[in-house]
């Protein structure tokens, strides 16, 4: 959903210029020091050891309410704050993008024989000694059941991307299983890092898994057990003292829903919530938040990009020259500095800058109105009497849509409109409420162009096939998520190669090339990569932002208070 903020525009304040990868390399302590919060010296002091048994509680403030507790069913990002505590995946991605075994003992690869026949045959060995919260041992049957349930015809699975290729799942031992893939699909490894395993012994007894009591009181293998839920207010989770991993060190975790971001920030200030994560602290409160006593405020890495998404079937926007001119006359730095308080990171790529596949050598964007005008002159877009350019009787005019009430985006629209008027492009505004704009207007490409914040990858895998392949245009084939309607034969081939290659270096070369083409063709006009602000109370140890997790509660099992 849309990030909202209602800050009035003031002059931007200076931000420490530091690269995100440097921040990640520093770890959380370094992050804090780099964000200009707290003293670096204080952060380098060794942390006190965790408590011997789970102690205390943490209250996590969320501006959206987690409501979907079956981790295989439709849900939104905030629901993952619950899934991550209750359930486990076979492996998880750490902040550097490395996969770390969790319910599995190792990550299957071509080197260890876990993946063979060019990616068609998979074998996984599972960790011994893991139990479900009700004491039942976890086995390979649970993994088999989970993968089969996702593909079961009547089950409301959130997504079958990747899972639909799985065939012939065989349990080869209590803690071993194998399956075959209909086609080689490298991103599946990443997809499984976000596929939570559910208990067969509970769900198979349900008359209908879609409405099973389990969906309201989930049972998993994770560091926290389901406690209580007060709908519309909070969810309480309690420590699982039989957890197979590190921790949990907290006795209780409370996920507190505070729907209004200003109220949420007020509760963070007054100490009623210990952390703000997810949509985070609104940009307009950042300058004040860093000065709050007893609070740590962190700019966190995020894989989401803010972009102008053109509809490439639009009579004006399908012209590459128009897109190049619009990009050259898009004052990205002003948008970041003036509207977003200098928080976010300019980018040229659809790939997050923290990814191993990110290409740092793309041409840098330069704000140049003269260049933009020249591009349009050369392409035959002539100025008419009204000042708006024309070509073959078509005026250079188009609408930009975004969510009504997204104040900062609405301000960005004003800036765009002013700049583009100077190159003879007439932009109009057509904003709508979230439930309208992200419905068929978006999914079926009924827009002319959008300001949207989204990620172009498959979980943590750099594969953007669902967003860029010509057979993934929902408006044409009813499949995929290529709402721009980009169709490019060379790109299609690269996407296929990227999906069927398992060697990371070879894949990197493929995705570098893909980013070069996207930078040249501009199927999206990237504005910035998000760097949202999260905050937490001093004394909380273990919080670590992770660009490869959809929520920064990914490691809550290892959080504790310094006492």
């Amino acid at each position: 959903m849309t990030k909202k903020s209602d800050g009035s525009v003031t002059s931007a304040f200076p931000m420490p210029a530091i690269h995100r990868r440097d921040l990640l390399a520093l770890g959380a302590g370094g992050l804090l020091a780099a964000s200009g919060v707290g003293s670096a010296r204080a952060q380098t002091r060794p942390a006190p050891p965790p408590p011997a048994k789970p102690t205390g509680q943490v209250v996590v403030g969320l501006s959206q309410e987690p409501t979907a507790f079956n981790p295989l069913m439709p849900g939104i990002e905030v629901d993952e704050t619950v899934w991550m505590q209750i359930f486990n995946t076979m492996w998880v991605a750490d902040p550097k993008g490395n996969l770390i075994p969790d319910l599995a003992v190792e990550i299957p690869s071509e080197a260890n024989g876990g993946i063979s026949e060019g990616g068609l045959a998979w074998k996984v060995k599972l960790r011994p000694g893991v139990t479900w919260h009700d004491g039942t041992p976890f086995t390979a049957e649970d993994v088999k059941y989970t993968l089969e349930l996702i593909n079961a015809p009547g089950f409301k699975a959130r997504t079958r991307v990747g899972h639909a290729f799985v065939r012939d799942i065989k349990v080869t031992g209590p803690l071993e299983l194998s399956w075959r893939m209909e086609k080689a699909y490298a991103p599946y490894l990443a997809l499984l890092s976000n596929t939570f395993i559910v208990p067969k012994h509970i769900l198979e007894k349900a008359a209908d898994p879609n409405t099973a009591p389990f969906n309201q009181a989930p049972v998993g293998t994770g560091p926290f057990k389901w406690g209580t839920r007060t709908p519309g207010d909070n969810i309480q989770l309690v420590a699982n003292d039989k957890f197979h991993g590190k921790g949990p060190y907290l006795e209780r975790a409370v996920l507190k829903y505070v729907p209004e971001q200003t109220s949420l920030y007020a509760q963070f200030r007054t100490g009623q919530v210990d952390l703000i994560i997810g949509t985070g602290i609104p940009a307009n409160f950042y300058a004040e938040a860093v000065k709050l006593p007893g609070r740590k405020v962190v700019k966190i890495p995020s894989a989401s990009l803010e972009m102008l998404m053109p509809n490439l079937e639009h009579p004006v926007l399908k012209d590459k020259a128009v897109r190049k001119a619009l990009y050259a006359s898009l004052n990205k730095q002003a948008i970041i500095d003036i509207i977003y308080y200098g928080l976010h990171i300019p980018t040229e790529s659809f790939s997050p800058q923290d990814s191993w596949a990110y290409n740092p050598n793309l041409p840098k964007h330069v704000y140049d109105l003269a260049l933009a005008n020249k591009i349009l002159d050369d392409a035959g877009w002539k100025r008419s009497g009204s000042g708006t350019r024309m070509k073959d009787g078509v005026p250079l005019t188009f609408a930009v849509s975004t969510t009504t009430g997204a104040a900062l985006r609405e301000q960005a629209q004003q800036l765009m409109m002013q700049d583009w008027a100077q190159i003879g492009a007439k932009m109009t505004i057509n904003n709508m409420p979230a439930a309208v704009i992200w419905g068929e207007f978006y999914t079926r490409s009924k827009f002319e162009s959008l300001i949207v914040g989204t990620a172009f990858r498959t979980v943590i895998d750099p594969d953007p096939a669902a967003r860029f392949a010509s057979d993934a245009i929902p408006a044409k084939s009813g499949a995929g998520a290529n709402q721009m309607q980009w169709a490019n034969a060379e790109v299609d081939q690269l996407l296929k190669d990227g999906q069927t290659t398992f060697d990371q270096e070879k894949r990197k070369a493929i995705y570098w090339k893909l980013q070069e083409i996207a930078r040249e063709e501009l199927p999206i006009l990237p504005i910035f990569q998000y760097a949202p602000v999260e905050g937490y109370k001093e004394g909380l140890i273990g919080y670590e932002p992770n660009v490869n997790a959809r929520q920064n509660t990914w490691n809550m099992g290892s959080w504790y208070w310094a006492r």
Partner: protein
Amino acid sequence: MSGFLLQRLMQALLLLLIVSMIGFAILHLAPGGPLSQFAAGGEMTQEDLDRITEQLGLNRPLPVQYAEWLWRMLSGDWGRSYRDQQPVLHIIGGHIGPTLELMLSSTLLAMLIGAWIGIIGAVKRYSLFDGIATIGTMIALSIPTFWFGLVVIYVFSVGLGWLPSGNRFTIGDGSFLNRLHHLIGPCIVLALVSTAVWSRYMRSSMLDVINQDFVRTARAKGVPERQILMKHVLRNALLPMITITGLHVPSLLSGALVTETVFTWPGMGRLFLDSISYRDYPVVMGILMFTAVMVLLGSLLADLLYGVADPRIARSGR
């Protein structure tokens, strides 16, 4: 009386049917839908979205969807929320408690203070007190609740630290005093506006009676002023207030949208807002029907109470 009740019941059922049809049509014909929230996340592809649309039955003709919903309603099944798969009645039940707690306390406070202001204002018409009360009322009615709520939080919570900045109680402490402490902020905000409303009702109702002939007759007979006020004026002035109270019942249960949002109060108002923004059709329809039933019950209750309070109406045997 029973004939009157039966007639009212038939009218109510017809009204409910019309309300449900209109509500269902408007809700489903409005652009967007319950899957928008998933589409915006970017994780689900069109195949996923289409499959879930079919599984939810959202791709069938609207009359078919309505007929099925109505049939289920009549058999007592209000459906399940798209968001958390819980039965709608269970969800509504979970939000009524907090709403009632907030609305009853703020309404009682507002009625008491408002009635007092209204009575004094009517008795001492055009006095300094009445002038101040009238201006105060106008200001209170004009203040945006959202803004006032945030001001209360910033002054009393962030600034002075006297009140919590929201929530119904501190997690881990549900004691009566703790709940009362949390109730003060939203109660003040809600009571401010309703006090203004109730005081105006009371004032105009009192003025209607004060100028009637029987009051003048009582004065001429030498009845003490205090007795005139309490026995004649107030008793008659309270009659219209009964109707207003009856009509106020639904709002006691439908919650305060803005205040509940600002103060993180998990009541019906916020449930409605969330359900609308996520296009959670079953819950929105559930709240709509629930509120419609409450409105009808409220007006029926007002009519019945009116009959009890005023023997003339009871005798007319409507």
